[in-house]
Amino acid sequence: MNPQNKTHSELAKKFNRDVERVNWHDKTLWFVREKRDKSAHQLAEWEQLREAASQIKNNVLSNLHNYLIEFEKNALNHGIHVHWASTAQEHNEIVHSIIKNHGVNNMVKSKSMLTEECGLNEYLHQQGINVVDTDLGERIVQLANEPPSHIVLPCIHWKKEEIGELFHQHLGTPKGNADPQFLTAAARKHLREHFLTSRVALTGVNFSVAETGEIIVCTNEGNADLGVQLADVHIACMGIEKIIPKRKHLSVFLRLLARSATGQPITTYSSHFQKPREGQEMHIVLVDNGRSERLASDDFRNALKCIRCGACFNTCPVYRRSGGHSYHTAVAGPIGSILAPGFDMAKNADLPFASTLCGSCTNVCPVKIDIHDQLYKWRQVLVKNGHTTASKKTGMNVMSLVLSLPMVYRFSGTVGRWIIRTLPFIVNNKFNPWYKQREMPKASTQSFRSWYLNQRKHGQ
C-alpha cells in the first residue's frame, strides 16, 4: 500500500502539486459535509441522538463479553455458523476455508473495511481465489489496482474522465465517454454477470444485534443484497465492536449513519439478516485483530465506537487537501490516524501529526469519539516510545530549557528575537519550510516585556 514508506507529509506534498485537483477534491468533499449539515439540521433531536449513540456504545464496550456470547447464541439458534478470529491472518484463513469447502474460486464482495484492514483480497488472490468488489467505487479502485481512498466514497479521488478511460481499458466502453450515468450502466452490466455466477458472497457488517443475533448491512447500490441473495453461501465479517445490545437501538444508529455519511435520511437498503434463507449457508466471522487489547486503554478505547460513516474525513481540512492515499493505511482520515498507530506504531507514527487538532472531526462524529484529543494523546505516546526524529527531540529539549528559564528566555530574546530562530514552527532546519511559501514575521524592535517595563518605569 505504501511501498516507498513515505510519510503523510511527503505524500500530501505530492498530492498538492496539482492545485486544480486539490481544489476539486476539497470542494467535492466539502459538498458532502454541507449535505450532512443540512440533513442533520432537520432533526431537532440531532445532538440528543449523538449523545445516546455515544452512551449506547459506551455501554457496549463495558459489557462486550456478555453481548458477544448473547449474539453468538442467538445466531447459532438461527442456523448461522459463527467463527472467531484473533488476528487478520486467522480471519483470512477462515474465509478461505469456507470458499474452499464449496469448491469455487471466485467470490463477490460488498464493502467491508474490515477485509481491507485484514488484506483479505491479496490473501485470497495468493490462494488462487478471484474476488470481485461490487460496490461501484470499490470496483473502480480494484480495477486500478489501488486501495480505496475513503471508507464511504472509495474512489472520490478519481475524475470521471479517468474512470471513463479505466472502463475503456477493462470493460471495453467507448473511448472518451465519461458520462457518470453511462459508466454506471456499464458497471451494472459488468457486475450483474458476476452476481449471477458467484456462489459465494461476502459482506461487511454495519451493526449486529446481541438480542436477536441479526446483522445489518447498509448500502445504496444494493450490491450486498444482490450478491447475498444470488449466492449459496453468505459470509459476513465483522469486528467484535460492531455489536449493539438491542434491536431498538438500531433506530438511533440508522438515524445517524447515512445523515452523517452523505446527508441522506437513510441508505437505500438497510438489510437485516437474521437467518439464512432456505438452502443457503450463512457464516459470521467475528474478528478481534487488536480490538480486545485496545479495549483496555482509557485513552484510546473510545475509537472502537466508530460506525464508519466517514463524516470526519469529509470535514477534515487536512484530509480534503491531502487525499486518502497520503494516509497509507486502510482507514484514512482522522479516525484512521487514531486507529492505525494501534496496529503498528512505527509504520504510522506520522499520522497523528497529520492534523492541526482543529477538532472538527470530534464535532461531526455521530458517536462522539474524541478524535482530536486522541490525536494529541497518540503524539505523546509515540514520542515516549521513541518514534520521533533526533533533530525534533533536540529542538524540543532546547526549547523546553530556554522557555523554562526566564533569564535565558529574555537573553535569547534580546539577541535579535530569539524566537524567530527557535520556535519549531518558524525555523527548524536549513531549508526552512516556513519561508517556502510564506514571508517571515517581521522582527519587532522590542518585546512586549521591555515596552511594559519601560512604560511602568515612566509612572503610568
Binding site: 461501484l136 435520511p265 437485516h272 437474521q274
Partner: protein, 192 residues
C-alpha cells in the same frame, strides 16, 4: 485455547467498568402530516409516490406505466395480475422487469418502507428486478425509526429491510445516478 476463548477472555479482562444504558427519549419535532412528509422525503431520494383509492387504480397505473410486456412478478393477491409462482432458484428472476410487493409500513422521516422475506416471496426479487413497486397502507406510516422498531418488535425473519428509493450511487464524482445494481426505479402506492 481456541480463538473464541482467547478473545472472550481478553475482552472480559480489558472491558471497563459497566456503563449504564441511556434512556431513549427523543423530544424531537415530529411531523404533523406523516403522509406528506413521507411523500416529500421519498420523492427527494428518487422514489415516486402515488396515492390511490383502490386496488383497481393500482393495477391500471401499473398497466399504463409498463405497457410493454416484459416480465412482471406479482406478490400481491388483490391486484389484477396473476400471482407468480416462485421457483427455488433466485437466478430465475434475472429477467424480471417489474416486481410488485406489499410493504409492511412506511417511515415518514426517511421515506423507507419496511418489508420482510414474507412479503418478498423470494428474497432476490426486490433487488434483481428492473423496476420495483411497493404498496403500503397510508395509515401505516410512522414518524421515525424509533416508532418503526417499536412496530417491528421482536418478530423474526430471514430478511427484513428498510428500502428507501431506487438503487443509487454517487461514486463517480458525486454525481447521483439511479439504478446502480438494484432496481432502477421505485414506485410506492399509498392505499387508503
Amino acid at each position: 485455547m481456541g480463538s473464541r476463548e482467547k478473545i472472550l477472555a481478553a475482552v472480559k479482562k480489558n472491558q471497563p467498568a459497566m456503563v449504564e444504558m441511556p434512556a431513549l427519549n427523543f423530544a424531537g419535532s415530529k411531523a404533523v402530516d406523516l403522509k406528506q412528509q413521507f411523500i416529500k422525503t421519498l420523492t427527494g431520494i428518487g422514489g415516486t409516490v402515488i396515492e390511490v383509492n383502490d386496488w383497481k387504480e393500482v393495477s391500471d397505473h401499473i398497466k399504463s406505466t409498463f405497457p410493454e410486456s416484459g416480465r412482471i412478478v406479482n406478490r400481491v393477491a388483490d391486484l389484477d395480475f396473476e400471482i407468480s409462482s416462485l421457483k427455488s432458484d433466485p437466478h430465475d428472476f434475472s429477467n424480471v422487469t417489474v416486481a410488485i410487493i406489499q410493504g409492511e409500513f412506511g417511515v415518514a422521516e426517511n421515506g423507507a418502507i419496511w418489508l420482510t422475506d414474507a412479503n418478498m416471496g423470494d428474497q432476490a426479487l426486490p433487488y434483481i428486478c428492473e423496476h420495483l413497486i411497493l404498496i403500503i397502507n397510508k395509515n401505516s406510516i410512522v414518524p421515525t425509526l424509533h416508532e418503526a422498531y417499536d412496530k417491528i418488535g421482536s418478530s423474526t425473519y430471514s430478511l427484513g429491510t428498510f428500502l428507501a428509493g431506487p438503487s443509487k450511487t454517487a461514486d463517480i464524482e458525486q454525481s447521483l445516478v439511479l439504478g446502480a445494481h438494484g432496481s432502477k426505479s421505485l414506485i410506492v402506492f399509498l392505499m387508503p
